[in-house]
């Protein structure tokens, strides 16, 4: 994996307000954010650009895939990408996550998420 000065984080969240907050969080942590409102859009973005290092995705989203399926698909198709998932519905102990995948329950601690992004980008 090539090291970049500033990693690009793909934020996947269907709720605009939450997406806005997540984008602010990513940018506030010093990274560039790219937005998608569902897993299909996220997949299209990942298929067209190669500079996404981290995906920060909600689980409960409409569309053909939820965030867990998206995470599994990313782990299969783009193994180097780091994944953070969040959910208000699932609890950490009830979700099966791909390897190297970090879970945050909603509402999440923005500092803790930012710290995770920094660690993953390092």
């Amino acid at each position: 994996m090539t090291r970049r000065e500033s990693a690009i984080v793909l934020v996947v969240e269907d709720e605009p307000l939450l997406r806005m907050m997540a984008v602010d969080l990513v940018e506030g942590a010093g990274f560039e954010a790219v937005e998608a409102s569902d897993a299909d859009e996220a997949t299209r973005i990942l298929e067209t650009r190669t500079d996404i290092r981290i995906v920060f995705t909600d689980i409960d989203m409409p569309g053909s895939m939820d965030g867990l399926k998206l995470a599994a698909s990313i782990r299969g198709r783009w193994p180097p990408i780091e994944i953070i998932v969040t959910s208000g519905q699932h609890a950490a102990q009830n979700v099966t996550l791909p390897t190297r995948c970090v879970f945050f329950s909603k509402p999440y601690d923005r500092r803790a998420v930012a710290a995770t992004i920094r660690r993953m980008a390092a």
């Binding site: 307000l17 208000g88 519905q89 329950s105 500092r111």
Partner: protein, 375 residues
Amino acid sequence: MDGVRPNAITDGAMNGSEAARLAALAGYRILDTPRERDFDDVAALASEICGTPIAVVNLIADGRQFFKAEVGLGVRETPLETSFCAKAILEEDFLVVPDATQDARFRGNPLVTGEPGLRFYAGALLKTQDGHAIGTVCVLDVVPHELTGLQERTLRVLARQVMKQLELRRAVEERDRAQAQQRVLNEELSHRLKNTLSLVQALATQTLKGVAERDAVAAFERRLFALSKAHDVLLQEDWTAAPISTVVGGVLSLHDDASRIEASGPEVDLGPKATLSLSMILHEMATNAAKYGALSDEAGRVSLSWTVEPGDDGPVLAVTWDERGGPPVTQPQRRGFGSRLIRTGLTGSGGVDLRYNPEGLHAEFRAPLSMVRSS
């Protein structure tokens, strides 16, 4: 069929329509279920006490009879056409046929005229509370019999016990189903609640983006997490009551210094309201300890303990927060929201004793156990 009406049941209609009877039977979800000891025992006992080679716990379904338990037949189901029990359920609650060859209703039955040459039948009805006859506990033999009073009473008692067994199973199943449904609703509610709390968080952080007092914004967010955590704990316990250790563990998990807070006490169930208040209080206590108290330097520790003590009006829950080893303590000048929240106590009506001892803050929260459990 030699005088046996192929579908005796449809003529029955003694307790409403046959459809209603079949619906009542279906409600017990017993048809086509595997053998079970509870029912096998009934058939075995009926056979033994009545001295017959055949005994059956029989359910009369649509066009067939299903043997929930049987002795001496070796099959689980037969058509209704030749059924003695199909006749029996037209009776009041008991049918005895000492010798089928002498009984106009049965002498033409192929099971009497041919193999296995049945002669004797006695059956006690399985009757629902609404009066639907759904089957029998019955015994059969290939030689004629008389039935003693004890044998008849045994069959009647066994039939009632089978019926009770079916009723209880259904009740348990219905309760389980209702609970499962409630759980789904609770989870949905919790999901919505957490999403709403997330939206509140997003609204607050967006609205307060330009505000210079970042500490206040952060304090708000952390209080929101404490509230959310308390709801998580309540959801795990179906929103009824939460063990105090789970409540304490939940809220302390939000704090980086949790390892320096030693919590201990007997298990006590807290009601939803007390779960929320204790969570919010402990969150404020831990926050203050980290800012000004024992957890604000490396050495300090907190002992959090609770006991149930006798009180004038019944048992009292006493929660003690004891700080040690931190910087010297002085009483705070300003009474902020956090300290006001702390002073509302476990049930919202005080019962809080705060002592700013020089060696460390000592706080006690007391409330009647009955209020803490129910509220």
